[in-house]
C-alpha cells in the first residue's frame, strides 16, 4: 500500500477552552476521495484549515505529504488546492485574471499560468465569462471559478469545504462531474459536506464528525450496512400525534426513531412493517419506504439530524 498523503493523529484545535476539533485521527491514501460529514459546528472547516496549513494545531500530530505544517507551511500549500467554504475570489480582477494572478502567487512562470488558465476556464465551462467581473457571475459560476483557481498549481491534494452548498441541483451535478474527472486523473480529494447524497456520490471513504470527534469511519456502503437496516419506513401521523403513536409501535422493525415531524422504522422490509402498522389499526397520513442513507447513520450515531 502506498504511503498516505495525510496522516492526522489525535489532532486537536482549541479556541481558548473550547475544543473545536477534539483529538481526531485519520489517514488519506493518494488518489483517494475522503469525506468529512457532520452537522454545523462539528469542526469540519477547522480540520480543513489545519490540513491546509493555514491554522496551527493545538496538539496532536499532523503530516501532509510527509511534512509537518508547523515547519513547512509554504511547501505544503504549494502542493494543495483549496476551495474554502466561503468564496474569496478577487473581486477587483476579472474572472480569468483571478486564475492567472493566483498562479503567480505560487511563483509559477507566466507562460505556464496563462496556458493553464485557458484550460481551466474551459474545464469550469466559463469560456464565455473570461472577461466578466467576479461580482457579475452567478453563485454556481463563482464556485466553479473557485475550483478552477484551486487547480492552477496542479495540486496533489484538493481540499473542498462544502463545494456545492447553495447550488441548485443542476449546478451540483456539473460540479460532481468535474470532481469525478479530477479523481480519475489521480488527484486526492478531501471534502466536507452536509449532503449525504454528495458524500455517497463522491467519497470512497468518510468519517462522520460531531462536536469535534469522529463517530464512525468507513465507506458509505459499509457505514450504512453497519449502522442501519436495508430499508426505512417513514410514517407521519401529524406533529402532535407522532410521539404518542410511537409508543404503540414498540417491537415493530429493528428500531424506531421519532423525529418531530415523522417516525422512522428501520427494517429489512419496509412494506411488511407498514402492513403491521395498519394491522394495529393505525393509519398514517403519509408513508414512504426508502433505502437507508448516511443520514440514518448519522441519526443513529448522534440522535440528531444532519441538517437541522
Amino acid at each position: 500500500m502506498p504511503a498516505p498523503v495525510i496522516v492526522a493523529s489525535d489532532l486537536t484545535k482549541k479556541y481558548k477552552d473550547f475544543a473545536a476539533v477534539d483529538g481526531i485521527s485519520f489517514e488519506v491514501a493518494p488518489g483517494e476521495s475522503f469525506g468529512l460529514l457532520g452537522p454545523n459546528g462539528a469542526g469540519k472547516s477547522t480540520t480543513m484549515r489545519m490540513v491546509g496549513a493555514v491554522s496551527t494545531r493545538t496538539s496532536g500530530d499532523l503530516r501532509i505529504l510527509d511534512l509537518d505544517p508547523n515547519d513547512y507551511g509554504p511547501e505544503i500549500r504549494s502542493q494543495l488546492g483549496v476551495v474554502p467554504q466561503a468564496d474569496n475570489l478577487d473581486v477587483e480582477l476579472k474572472a480569468r485574471d483571478n486564475l492567472v494572478v493566483y498562479g503567480r502567487y505560487f511563483g509559477l512562470p507566466r507562460k505556464v499560468v496563462q496556458q493553464r488558465a485557458d484550460e481551466l476556464m474551459a474545464f469550469a465551462q466559463l469560456e464565455d465569462k473570461v472577461k466578466a467581473k467576479v461580482d457579475d457571475l452567478s453563485g454556481g459560476m463563482k464556485r466553479r471559478l473557485t475550483i478552477a483557481r484551486a487547480l492552477i498549481n496542479d495540486p496533489r491534494i484538493l481540499l473542498l469545504d462544502e463545494p456545492t452548498t447553495g447550488l441548485d441541483p443542476q449546478a451540483r451535478h456539473i460540479l460532481w462531474d468535474r470532481l469525478f474527472r479530477l479523481k480519475e486523473q489521480g488527484t486526492t480529494l478531501v471534502l466536507t459536506t452536509h449532503y449525504m447524497d454528495e458524500a455517497e456520490q463522491l467519497c470512497d471513504r468518510l468519517v462522520v464528525v460531531d462536536k469535534g470527534s469522529i463517530m464512525a469511519e468507513g465507506s458509505p456502503a459499509a457505514l450504512i450496512r453497519q449502522y442501519s437496516s436495508r430499508e426505512v419506513l417513514e410514517v407521519r401521523f401529524g406533529s402532535d400525534r407522532n410521539e404518542q403513536v410511537a409508543e404503540q409501535l414498540a417491537g415493530i422493525g429493528e428500531r424506531v426513531e421519532v423525529l418531530p415531524d415523522r417516525i422512522l422504522v428501520y427494517s429489512e422490509d419496509g412494506e411488511a412493517e407498514l402492513n403491521h402498522i395498519t394491522e394495529l389499526g393505525l393509519h398514517p397520513l403519509t408513508s414512504l419506504v426508502r433505502r437507508s442513507s448516511l443520514e440514518d447513520v448519522f441519526l443513529r450515531l448522534t440522535g440528531r439530524s444532519l441538517i437541522e
Binding site: G52, V54, S55, T56, L65, D66, L67, D71, Y72, G73, P74, E75, R77, S78, Q79, L80, V82, P84, A86, N88, L89, D90, V91, E92, L93, D97, V101, Y102, R104, Y105, F106, G107, N153
Partner: protein, 275 residues
C-alpha cells in the same frame, strides 16, 4: 517531488523565516497594478494635484505677504521654497498612510483578499512587502511630478534636490510600514478614524508652514519626536541644499520606523491568517 526533496535538504534552520517569506512579493505587487486598472482614477489623479494646489495657493498667495523665511540651518529662502519640500513630505505621508490603512483595512476585513493569498505558498511578509511596494511606487510617481513642478517654478535651490526622490520613498516606506502595523490591530471603522485624528494636527504643526522656532521649547521637543517633522526637515534640507549631519538622524529615524512596522505587521498577519 523535487520541491519536497529540496525542502528537506535545506534543513529546518532558515525555516522560521521561510515560513513567513517566499520571496515572491512581486506577484502581490503585480496583482495590485492589475487591480488599479479598475479603480477610481479621480482619486489617483487628485492625489497628485492636491499638494500642487496647496503650493500655488500658499506659496504664492501667502508668500507675497511673508517674504523670506529662515530654515533650521539659518539659510534665508523664499516662502515658496520653504513650504514646497514640506508639502512633498506631507503628500508622501498621506499617500502611504491611505494605501496602508484604509485600503489594507478594507482588504483585510471585507474582501478576504489576504486570506486567499495566504492559502498559496505566499507568506505574510510577501503580502506586506507587495502592498507596501505598490504604495511606494505610487508615491514615487507623485513625487517625481511634484519635483518637476518645483523645478519649473524655480523652487529647487540645489542639485541635492534629486536626492529628494529616494528620500520620499524612504519616508513613504516608513509611514506605510507603520500604518499597516497599526491597521492590523484595528477592528472597526470607528477605530480607523483615530488615524485621521492624529494625522491632521501632525500636518499642521510639524514645521510645515513656519519654522519650529515660533513654538516654546517644550512643544518643539514634542514635535521633534514626530515622524512628519523628520520628514519635513529631511526634504527641506535636500531641496534647499542646506544639509548637515542631522540628515543621518532623520534617515535612521525612518529605518527604525520601517523595521518596527514590519515586525508588528508580520506578527499580526500571521496571527490573523495563520493562527
Amino acid at each position: 517531488m523535487s520541491v519536497l526533496e529540496r525542502t528537506r535538504r535545506s534543513g529546518p534552520l532558515p525555516q522560521s523565516l521561510r515560513a513567513l517569506y517566499a520571496g515572491n512579493a512581486r506577484s502581490v505587487m503585480a496583482r495590485g497594478l492589475l487591480a488599479t486598472k479598475s479603480t477610481n482614477w479621480t482619486v489617483v489623479v487628485s492625489g497628485f494635484f492636491e499638494p500642487v494646489f496647496y503650493l500655488l495657493a500658499m506659496g504664492f498667495g501667502l508668500g507675497e505677504l511673508v517674504g523670506s523665511v529662515s530654515t533650521t540651518t539659518g539659510q534665508e529662502v523664499s516662502y515658496g521654497a520653504f513650504i514646497a519640500p514640506a508639502l512633498l513630505a506631507v503628500s508622501a505621508m498621506n499617500g502611504a498612510v491611505y494605501d496602508s490603512t484604509w485600503n489594507v483595512f478594507f482588504k483585510m476585513n471585507y474582501t478576504k483578499l489576504y486570506q486567499g493569498m495566504l492559502s498559496t505558498s505566499l507568506g505574510p511578509l510577501d503580502v506586506a512587502f507587495g502592498e507596501i511596494a505598490l504604495a511606494l511606487l505610487r508615491g514615487a510617481v507623485y513625487a517625481t511630478g511634484f519635483l518637476i513642478v518645483m523645478q519649473v517654478l524655480g523652487l529647487n535651490l540645489s542639485w541635492l534636490a534629486i536626492l529628494a526622490l529616494p528620500a520620499v520613498v524612504l519616508i513613504a516606506f516608513a509611514f506605510a510600514s507603520f500604518g499597516m502595523a497599526i491597521t492590523s490591530y484595528m477592528k472597526t471603522f470607528q477605530q480607523m478614524d483615530w488615524i485621521n485624528f492624529v494625522m491632521l494636527p501632525m500636518f499642521l504643526f510639524s514645521a510645515t508652514f513656519y519654522p519650529l522656532s515660533v513654538y516654546p521649547e517644550w512643544i518643539q521637543t514634542v514635535i521633534q519626536a514626530l515622524p512628519l517633522w523628520h520628514a519635513v526637515e529631511l526634504m527641506r534640507g535636500l531641496t534647499t541644499g542646506a544639509v548637515d549631519a542631522g540628515v543621518l538622524w532623520h534617515v535612521l529615524y525612518f529605518v527604525v520606523m520601517i523595521l518596527v512596522g514590519l515586525v508588528f505587521t508580520t506578527k499580526r498577519l500571521r496571527a490573523l491568517f495563520l493562527d
